[in-house]
């Protein structure tokens, strides 16, 4: 592994770690959802009754890991792999 390949590998790992942290910070959900909870607005009477806003279920398909983490990580892996092999070939050619 040459110097450039090491840079590519390090950059790819840092970027994937950053994406993972982003995914974790935004809830880190692995499973895809079949619905979401939507908070309803409180009526005047509910406010008078001292109640907190309620959540109602709405059908909506939401991918868990995708699109954020998996797609971005996939792109990083593909680009890094291309760069990795490009730099490898260049070095091999230089040696020849």
């Amino acid at each position: 592994m040459n110097e450039k390949q090491k840079y590519v590998l390090t950059a790819a790992l840092i970027l994937i770690a950053a994406v993972f942290l982003w995914w974790l910070a935004s809830g880190g959900e692995i499973l895809s959802k079949d619905g979401v909870w939507v908070e309803t607005e409180l009526s005047e009477l509910d406010k008078a009754l001292g109640l907190e806003p309620q959540k109602v279920y709405q059908e909506k398909f939401i991918l868990g890991l995708l699109p954020h983490t998996a797609v971005i990580s996939g792109i990083i892996v593909v680009v890094s792999a291309i760069l990795f092999f490009t730099f490898k070939s260049k070095k091999t050619k230089e040696k020849k």
Partner: protein
Amino acid sequence: MKTIIKTSILLLAAVSMTLAQGFKIKASGEQTFNFEDKRNQVKFFSTTPLEDITGISNDVKGKVTLDVADVKNMKGSIIISVASIKTAIDLRDEHLRSDNWLSADAYPEITFAVKNVGDVKVLEDNKIEAKVTGDFTVRGVTKETVAVVTLTYLDASEQTAQYAPGDLLGVQAKLNIKLSDFNVNNMIIGQKVSEDIEITVTLRGSNAK
């Protein structure tokens, strides 16, 4: 001697009146509220570094009886249907109902039965906060649990009639449980599901007969 007895009785009455903490509203005496509103809701919240999960049930029923002037005598119970709990992922709901988790077929209900009421704080004339101790039952296992409850009493009016006839009682409660206390032991507890579950209860009740 008579004066001492009279003074003692008066003092006792004064002390008991001070200790009795209740609503200052039009209604008086013992009132029974039924919680049958379909918007009544119980939320179960689990948070772990991997995932936050919210489970919600709108199939919540119950009844409480309280003395308006002294809520410490409150009695009653709340019943939640296990099969009605949704987590927004159908597959996860199936798992939740299975024997590995809440065993919905064997134990179809989660219940909270009021045992006693303490730390009563009068927040407003019609609003009271209290610590309500009760028997919380999950999977057939009962454990004494304390809920922080806010009760809001509304005398019957044109506004309350929009919801239901009679006086209304709003109940907003929070309690925490540990799954292991109720024999819910699963490999993913601590990873994707927290051992500690925060429960939020939102109820509207009416005393109309």
